[in-house]
């Protein structure tokens, strides 16, 4: 610094402080289009076929298990008295939770102008939709008389009986169906410009027709873009409260009830944090292999992965705080039933579930404090799987350990899953991966137009951007 008074002038920021580019290696707009569309346009790759085989097998397993369940009865599952909800509800909550990352990325990060979201939002939204589909299977099939499942919907009928609006399960029906609808709309909205790109690039008649049909006559005109951006903003605004509401309402399934360990006011925020946590875990699990196998390292950069890790770390800390607060309140409440419930979680017959949860959800994210770990894809991939395992155990601990031992010791029990439980769960992975693989093969997995918009090339005032370089898209 000089001895004179500082001059009033704007200096260009030092090069090293510039935000890292969201698309690395300075890829041009055309290259981005090519790279993303390449996944679809190439002949069916071998890895895709190899992945599709187990996915379809598991999907048929799901079908078989559902048919078996429906024709025989809920007894084929392990759930019993007193644990009347078993894996079905655990998996429902788990899948719903996973869905949350997609909506958070596409809606909340959009409103917060987090531009890095563009590389991962499409795939995450797809993940959301498929996860909600997997989740949605469970409430339908877990009821004793599936053929009367429609009684949960407020359909005018000659009996004159309406659903019971005081029941959290009723709220679930509305919350989940709204969530699914809005998510699908939002996703589809975002897809329209890219579908048009696909239409324009597609050479086969059927593909051209299908993409053309679904791109709704998109021409990329200014008017279209203007409407599109408005609609996108509106849907983002609509989705944002849903991110918070869905899992809050799912948590009310538990919080509204009487049971020690369920009846707590902390559940809604704690569930939302947990959902985002597990959702980002799943995003990492999916994207890390995907970016390698589809050669998208330039678009889904290490920085993206790092940012996801940071979100995971943050939400993991919130979840850890919630675990601590639950135990504290149980002690502070003075209620012996509450105290016992939490003691039982940690040291009762299901101690392993509790400590698996603590290990995976509280300890594992702490590794993300370290950049070396955040940038090592193998480790991040492994840890992201642990996050998902941990979140499954969280639901297990909540559902099973509470129900197994609550007020009256004489009816305490122990829940064991049946093979059908396990195979149905595996089957939902079949559903998820089948859908996801189809998505990868037929739809652009990255929002082409949005990614382009955040590249320097798209900025007319940027040295690389605007008319000077031009794009050939």
């Amino acid at each position: 610094m000089s001895e004179h008074a500082p001059a009033i002038k704007l200096e260009a920021p030092p090069v090293e402080l510039e935000r890292p580019r969201l698309v690395s290696n300075n890829r041009g707009l055309g290259e981005i289009s090519d790279q993303i569309c390449d996944v679809i346009e190439r002949p069916t790759p071998l890895w895709w076929k190899i992945c599709m085989l187990p996915a379809l097998t598991l999907l048929s397993l799901l079908g078989a298990m559902v048919v078996y369940l429906v024709t025989v009865g809920v007894g084929v599952w392990g759930n019993q008295h007193p644990v009347m909800w078993g894996w079905a509800i655990i998996n429902f909550v788990w899948w719903i939770g996973i869905g949350h990352a997609g909506t958070l990325i596409s809606a909340i990060l959009f409103l917060l102008r987090q531009k890095w979201r563009t590389s991962i939002n499409r795939a995450s939204e797809a993940m959301t939709i498929f996860a909600v589909m997997c989740a949605g299977v469970y409430p339908l099939i877990h009821v004793g008389r599936i053929w009367y499942g429609w009684w949960l919907f407020p359909i005018p009928n000659s009996n004159g009986i309406w659903p019971q609006f005081r029941s959290p399960l009723m709220w679930d029906v509305f919350a989940v169906s709204t969530y699914f609808t809005v998510s699908v709309l939002f996703w589809y909205m975002g897809l329209i410009p890219d579908l048009a790109v696909m239409r324009d690039r597609c050479k086969k008649f059927f593909g051209k027709f299908a993409y053309g049909l679904f791109s709704l006559g998109w021409s990329g005109s200014n008017r279209h873009w203007r409407n599109y951006e408005k609609a996108y903003l509106i849907l983002a605004g609509l989705s944002t409260p849903l991110v918070l509401s869905v899992h809050s309402i799912v948590s009310l399934d538990f919080a509204v009830s009487q049971l020690p360990g369920w009846h707590t006011t902390i559940f809604p925020p704690y569930f939302v944090a947990g959902a985002v946590f597990s959702g980002f875990g799943m995003v990492l699990t999916l994207l890390i292999p995907l970016r390698s196998v589809c050669k998208l390292q330039d678009i889904i950069t290490v920085r993206h992965i790092e940012l996801c890790c940071k979100v995971t770390l943050t939400t993991g800390c919130i979840v850890g705080y919630a675990y601590f607060m639950e135990v504290f309140i149980a002690w502070y409440s003075g209620s012996s039933f509450e105290k016992y419930a939490f003691w039982n979680r940690a040291f009762g017959p299901y101690w392993w579930g509790y400590w698996a949860m603590i290990g995976c959800n509280v300890v594992v994210p702490q590794f993300f404090w370290f950049k070396k770990i955040r940038t090592n894809m193998w480790i991040v991939f492994f840890l992201s799987i642990l996050v998902n395992v941990g979140m499954w155990f969280e639901r297990f601990v909540i559902v099973v350990t509470t129900l197994a031992r609550e007020f009256i010791p004489a009816n305490w029990g122990y829940f064991n899953p049946s093979p059908v439980d396990i195979m149905t769960y595996l089957g939902t992975f079949g559903l998820f991966f089948t859908m996801f693989l189809l998505f990868l093969r037929f739809l652009p997995m990255i929002a082409i137009c949005e990614v382009k918009a955040v590249t320097p090339q798209a900025d007319p005032h940027h040295p690389l951007g605007g008319a000077e370089e031009g794009g050939h898209h």
Binding site: R145, Q164, Y414
Partner: protein
Amino acid sequence: MNNSESMKAARQTGPKYWRSLDHLADAPQFRKWVDSEFPSGAEAVADPVTRRNFMKLMSASFLLAGLGMSGCRRPEEKIVPFAKQPLGYTHGRARHFASAMPTRTGAVPVLVKQDDGRPTKVEGNDEHPDSNGGTNAFTQASALNLYDPDRAIRFAKNREGVTREAGLDAIKTIADQAAADKGAGLYILADQAVSPTRDRVRDLLLKKLPGAKWHEYEPVDHDIHRRAATEAFGLPVRPYYKLDEAEVILSLDCDFVGSEEDSALLVGKFAKGRKIDPVHPKMNRLYAVEALFTLTGAAADHRLRVPASAVHRVAAEVAAKVLTDAHFDKPGMAVVKNALVAHGSAPDVQSKWISACADDLKRHAGKCVVIAGQGQSEATHLIAHALNSALGNVGKTVDLLPVPAAKGGSIGELTAALSASKVKSLVILGGNPAYDAPANLDFANAMENAGEVIRLGYHEDESAPKKGWNIPLAHYLESWGDARTVDGTLVPVQPLVAPLFAGMTQIELLARLAGEAVFAPYDLVRETFFGLAGGKNENAWKRFLHDGYHAGSAKAPVTRVRLLVDRVTAAVKAADKQPSAGGAEQEVVFYPDSKVDDGRYNNNGWLQETPDPITKLTWDNAVLMSPATADALGLDNMKGFRDGQHDKILSESDSKVADFHDGEHNITERGEFHPEIVELSLGSRKIEGPAWVVPGMADNVFAVALGYGRSRDAESTGGAGRVGDGTGFNAYPLRAEDGMKFAVGVKVTRTGRRHQLACTQEHGTIDGRALIRETNFDKFTDAESGHADFAKGMNMPHPPGMEELPDHGLAYKNPLDDLRKNATHSWGMAIDMNSCVGCNACALACQSENNVPIVGKQQVIKGREMSWIRLDRYFSGDVNDPQMAHQIMVCQHCEAAPCENVCPVNATTHDDEGLNLMIYNRCVGTRYCSNNCPYKVRRFNYFDYNRRPLDDLYNTPLNPWNRKDGEWELTRWYKDRSKGNIDDDQWDLLALVRNPSVSVRMRGVMEKCTYCIQRIEAAKIAQKVKAGASGNVEVPDGTIKTACQQACPAEAIAFGNIDDPESRVSKLKAQARDYEVLDYLATRPRTTYLGRVRNPNPEMPDYREAPETFQEWEAHGNHLAHHHGHDHDHGPGESHGHDSDHAHDQHQNTEHGETAGKGGDH
């Protein structure tokens, strides 16, 4: 199932003509005609001339289609219904008939409900002079036995079906032969019964055929009461215990509230002395000396655990202590005294226990009773009689009733005769000797030495002769007979239905054997009655059948009796030479099972699935032993307990309590019990069974329940049936004549193998929770102690500041409060835990009344049993000598029911009378209601338990190879949606036992206790009809009895209108002992409990300052809130209870309450 197929095959080879109508009904054309909604002839309705003809057609099709068998028709003989004259027979309206269920030593007077010609529900007859209408579990379950698909349904020769005529011919041949030989070579082996007609026909037969020999055998020796009393007093008498008049009771291994034959009666009398009048509190005191932990021990105020073989020593010590007191040293007793005093001394604690107990007996001379159990030797019984005589109880608390002198020999003598080939014809009446005879006799083989065997049996079981005849025995609900109840009152056994499978009664067979011209049971019974009632009086006969008893026929007690002291002395001296368990010696105790008795109820699914009240085991028996004994054997059942790995409680407590709570006594692995199998051997006889630890059992004792281990082998059809086969292990092979009740010197070894048991209660301790509330009588009556209001004092304290808020701080107004203002009734229930002994009668009554299905052992292991009544059993205190407490748990009908607001489809709702309704048709089965029920009383139909065989639950109906009666399940379903995949023959029978007033639930539906809503509605409708224009539609108190309440011999359950301050339930709820389980949840249950009061003697060495559950609760840091028991203001004290019933508030001042006397106010 292979067995069922072989059974079916066996059946199809049976006779044709006696089931001809049945076969006609099965013809496809006929079925089709019947199945069509309007059989051909429907057009006749329009034609008035032929309408009558049509009605005939319709009723014929009803009988065939609805009942599906020719046997199910109304009896031919004239029977008189209890309440309604037959002329108003209305289809669909149930009728009730008085009858009696014969037992070995008496009978249970019953009222049987008949729905359209089929008996469906057995209830106690409360008009009988010696019955309060209570029954036991067996009586309740006996209705299912009638419809047992595996009962003997044919006449069988050499285990092959033959015609009935052939069987009758065979009987005739034997009768003719016997008549020719004057009875020489005719041996009859009968079970025990108290039937004047059987006695009469027997005497007739023996008179006609003087050479014939009569033998009696029962595997469980309930006859010991008669034998011992006869021995002690030198007269044919049996003791009749008036427990209600006793202030102190000493039970010498007598499980009089459980396994004794007259338990229903004894429970009622005992419970009378336990009911506490709030104004003049008073209660009896029970001392129990026992080896097993029985229900009587659980009810006892003091319990001394000693091996069964040492009970007579304890008895002798007590007697010695009493008799050394000059006051009781009556003339003639000196000899007894000397024999007893010389007897030796017991360990310290025991001797303190004994002397304090003896002192208490002495203080209550003439107002106490000493009662010895069926599992005890004659010496113990004789000492008990000596004690009762010395204490002056005879004629006061113990009556000696005259009984007919015993006739006949033992099964041992019969076997000797068989082995000596003296037996030309062997006739077995009832029983199952080939299965349950003493092992040393090898009766099954000895039977084959008989020239001809005729066996009248209820099942084609082990005793169905391989060479000889098996004749189906009629169930008591389909046969004419008579019996005497314990007090000697003559009761009729009336059929409610003609024999379903042409079964025969014992008296008919005897009469046929005697060559009597009259052998119809009806005529025989009538003749006996006329003989006893003094002449042929038709009106008296009708009255007899109508009332279900012959008034005034009770036996007058023998008054002038004298104890034969030399016999007592001799017995005591002889018994002294017998070894007792202890130290290195171990004993095995054989006891009748709480579910299958001696094996006779083995094929009864209701009973098999009812948890044993102590062990909570279903579908199995086990080798019971104390924790120390198991430890000494090195069994790992106690591992969890010893290592303290399992449960620790959050708050520190004193070590004794914590010790016991450190684990389960039988450790579970993943919620399942896989105890090790041990081998028991006595000499060369061996059995194997899974080990099960029961805290509080005497050490060095192994107890095995009789009646299990039935199986069919390939070549024969013998066994219990499709339900009972393969359950448990058979204890009879270990039991010989020299040790029928217990045997010292058993050797026990571990096998290393394991067997899975289905236990319905995984956690046996209460963990300091205020679910069961108990105190001691001295504290309860002491105003200073603060225990007068102990039940409400154990409520969880409200957070500070809540009390000042309106409605006791409940945030929301209960919507029911408004509805209730306009309701005619407010239903509620009170359960007196002081009277309840945990006998399971209520559970079986509920099962029978409410069509509660059974689910099988594998489903019980998964915790999916369907019973609407759960009997929670808790141990507390020292694991070696704990206290036991029971609590029946049913739907609490909460006013603010947590189940209701979580059901998404409105399938469970409230009505204005306070019932928590379950609408099966609306239920989709989310099971959320069960999760949110803090009492966990809802049960879910995980499978179609009613429509699928229990071994076929996991099979999908889509499986085309899964066929029943040659038809694919889906085809069957398409044709008849109700039938499911159960064999047709089983289905027809199982459908008959159902209560038509209660819907049968399908899979995927939640169910629970309804307070017997069908009974409530029936009473309300009847009251409306009666009210007419008067508008008085309020059902009077006592009109409605729930099934559990009706069956309860202790009258522990009261149900009624809690808005009526005079109703019995209101009065009970107004008592200070009334409390809500889980009060702090503010669910405001309509079912409340009356806290239990124990009455320990402070002089006893095992006196506890407070009951163990109370101590445990305090050890968890709780303190009794100070309550003003007599303060009726809305003070802070009272507001703890959320009592919404204003009956409580308004009427606490009035003097009322459950009187200690008979609950005859209904």
